[in-house]
Symmetry: none
Subunit: 414 residues, 2 copies
Amino acid sequence: MIVEIVTTGTELLLGQIINTNAPYMARRLNEAGFDVLFQSTVGDNRARMAQVLAAALARADIVITTGGLGPTQGDITKEVAAELLGRPMRLHAHSLERIKSFFATRKLTMTDNNIRQAMIPEGALVLDNERGTAPGVVVTTDKNTVVHLPGPPHEMEHMLENAVIPYLRDRFGVQGTIVSKVLRSFGLGESSLEERIKDIIKGQGSNPTIALLARSAEIHIRLTAKGTTQAEAEELIAGLEKKVRERIGEYIFGTNEDTLEAVVGRTLAERRLTLALAESCTGGLITSRITDVPGSSAYLAGAVVCYSSEVKQSAVGVPADILAAHGAVSVETAKALADGIRSRFGTDLGIGVTGIAGPGGAMPGKPVGLVYIAVAGKNGTFCFEHNLTGLRGAIRQRTALAALNHLRHYIAEL
Amino acid sequence: MIVEIVTTGTELLLGQIINTNAPYMARRLNEAGFDVLFQSTVGDNRARMAQVLAAALARADIVITTGGLGPTQGDITKEVAAELLGRPMRLHAHSLERIKSFFATRKLTMTDNNIRQAMIPEGALVLDNERGTAPGVVVTTDKNTVVHLPGPPHEMEHMLENAVIPYLRDRFGVQGTIVSKVLRSFGLGESSLEERIKDIIKGQGSNPTIALLARSAEIHIRLTAKGTTQAEAEELIAGLEKKVRERIGEYIFGTNEDTLEAVVGRTLAERRLTLALAESCTGGLITSRITDVPGSSAYLAGAVVCYSSEVKQSAVGVPADILAAHGAVSVETAKALADGIRSRFGTDLGIGVTGIAGPGGAMPGKPVGLVYIAVAGKNGTFCFEHNLTGLRGAIRQRTALAALNHLRHYIAEL
C-alpha cells in the first residue's frame, strides 16, 4: 500500500514554521509497515489544494492529510477532499456534542465557527479528538483511503498512534514489523566508505536494505529489515551488520543515538580512566562536547583553553624553548600540551590540540586547516596531523570529532 | 512566476531527518518576490522522482530541487530531471577540475564516484559550489526554469543567496525590493516581550510587518518592508525599529546575524580589553562560543574548565576554605572563580560559572538548574543567580548566553 502525506497550511508553505508532522508521520507509518513514498505541502487555497489532492489520490492508495481542520474560513482541507470524492458534508451530531462539551468544560464560549469542525463527509468514519476540538476523518472509496488529521502535533500524534495506525494495519491486514539500525562511522569519507561496501549496496534486495547518509563529518549506515516478527527482522539486520563491520568495522564507533563523546565517555567510566585536555584552536569545543554527556564529571578532571603562548606555558607547562623552536602549531607543541595537562591535572590521559582554524593565522608552510592532535597516556604520546578545509566552524567541529576518535583508538589499545 | 520546491532523499521521506531546506528556501524566495505555491518530497527512486518532477514541471514555472547531487548511486536528481527534459548529460571540465582541487587541497583521494558530480545536462548553466563538491545547475526550457541545488544546508543556502536569487530576479525582471531586519533580544521571555509591543504588533498593516520568533533562549523580532527602492524599504524598517527599541531596547543585543559572542567580542576588541574564564557546569561551552568568532585570540587569553574541586583550587586558585564553607555551587565560589582566573591569566575581565546542569547533582537547597555567574573587573566582582529549567543541554546553553549577556552589560558600564 502506497502512502502519500499531504501537509496543508500557508504558514508551512511560506517557511514560517518547520514541518515536523510529515517526518513524524512518515517514520511511524514506515515502522508500522506502510510505504510512505510521497510528501506534498500546499497552502490554504482551494484550487491548488484540489490539484495536490487529486495528484495524491491518483498515485497513492492511502492519502493522509494534516492541517486545515480548524474553525476558520482558511481551514478547508476536509471540504476540498470531500468535493473531489463526491461526498456531501453532513453535520455529525456526536462530534458537535463533543465540541460543545470541550468548550463547556473549559468555561469558554463556543463560536458558530466551531460548528464547521463537526461537518463530516457522508459515509466517513469519525475519529474522536482526545486533545482538541477537530475530529479526524477516514473516507474510503473503491480506490483510496483518505485520512484527515488535525495540524497541532500533539493532537495529530495521539490520533495517529491510537486510531489511524491500528485501523490501517487491521484494514489492510499488515503483518510483521520493520526494524532499523544506524551504524555511525567517522574517519572515512562518503565515497571511500561506499567504495568499500559497494557490492553490498549494489547487491541488496528489498529486504534487508542498506543506505548511506552523510551527517556533517560522520557517515551513517542505515540498515532496515522487515520480518513477520521483531526477532526475524533483527536477525536480518544482524547478518547485514556483520558483513558491513567486516569491511569497515574500525570506523564504526557506535549505533543509533550514540555520539562519539558518549561512546568515549562510557569507556572511560567503565575503565575508571580520567582525562584532561589542553585546547588551543578548538577553544573549548572538545571539552564542551565531553561535558555535554551527563555524568562526565566521573572521568573529566578539567581542561585549559590556551589561546596565548603565555597561557600555554603558565597553565599547561609547555616549555618556552619548544614554542620558540617549533612554533605554537607543531607536533612538538601538541605533544607538550597533552603531556603537560596530563601531568598538571594528574590524569590517566591527556589531549593536546593546536592548529589554525582560520580564517586568519596562516603562516608559510602552515595553512589554515593544519591541526595537530596529541594523545598522552601510559602507552606514550602520539600526535596526528590533519589538513582540513572549510570554514572556521567546520574545521573546529571536525577537529573535535577527530580528537575524540583518536582518544577512542588510544583507549582501545590500553 | 509560480515556484515549486522539490526536496529529494529517502532519509527525508522516511522522516529520519527534518526538512529544514524547504522552509528556508520558501522564506527567502517569497521575500525575493517569487510565489512558492507547492512543495514536494520524494525518495531516491527513479520512477517516483520522475513522476513528482513531471507534476511540478506541469504546474510551476520554476522548479527548484535540493538534494541528490552527491557522488553515490543514490544521487539521481539531476539525471532524472535531465531525462524528463530531454537533455543528455555531459562531462563539465571546469566542474571536474574544481572537484579534483577540492580533494587535493584536503589531501584526500578522489574516487571515480565523484566524477558523476561533474556530469551536467547539456546547455545548462553551472553554479560553482563554494562550500562543497556538487555544482548547482540551472536548465531552462520554453516553459520552465529548473534549478538543482545540493542538499547540505550550508551549501544550498550559499548558492541560493548568491547565485539563484540574483539570477531569477534578473531573468524575470522582478522589480522593487523586500528588506528584512532581525532584532535579536535576550533576557525577556516571549510573552513578556510580546506584551510590551502588543499594540505595535496588533496595529501593523501589510507594510512594514513585524513578527516574533523564539529561537532557543533568544527572541528574534523580524521587521520586513517592501519598497520600490532599497532606500524606501529601509526607511520603513528604520521607523518601525525605532518604535520597538523605545520599548525593549535594553534587551536587544544585536541585529541579523549578530551573535552575543560576536557582539561582546567586537566590544572587547575595540576597547582592547582581555578576558579569561573559569567554567564549571558549562564545561567549556562559553569559551567555545567565544572562540567560534574569528579573531577572538585578540581578547581571549584562555580558560580553565574546572569540574573537580582540585582543579578549582590548583588551576584557578579558589581558596579551599571557600569551597569548604559554601560548597562548589555558591555565590562565593563563583566570585572566587572569576577573581582567580582574572588574576592567574592577568586579564582585564574574568568570568566564573558554577551550577548544577543536571540530571544528577542536585543537593538540598541546590536544585538542578541553579547557576551562579560572576563577572570580575576593575569595577568590582558581581554575581548573578539563575534558576533555569529544562534538560542539561538547554540549561548549559542558556547559562552560556546569560554569561555573555552579563559580560555585555558589565563592559557597557566600564
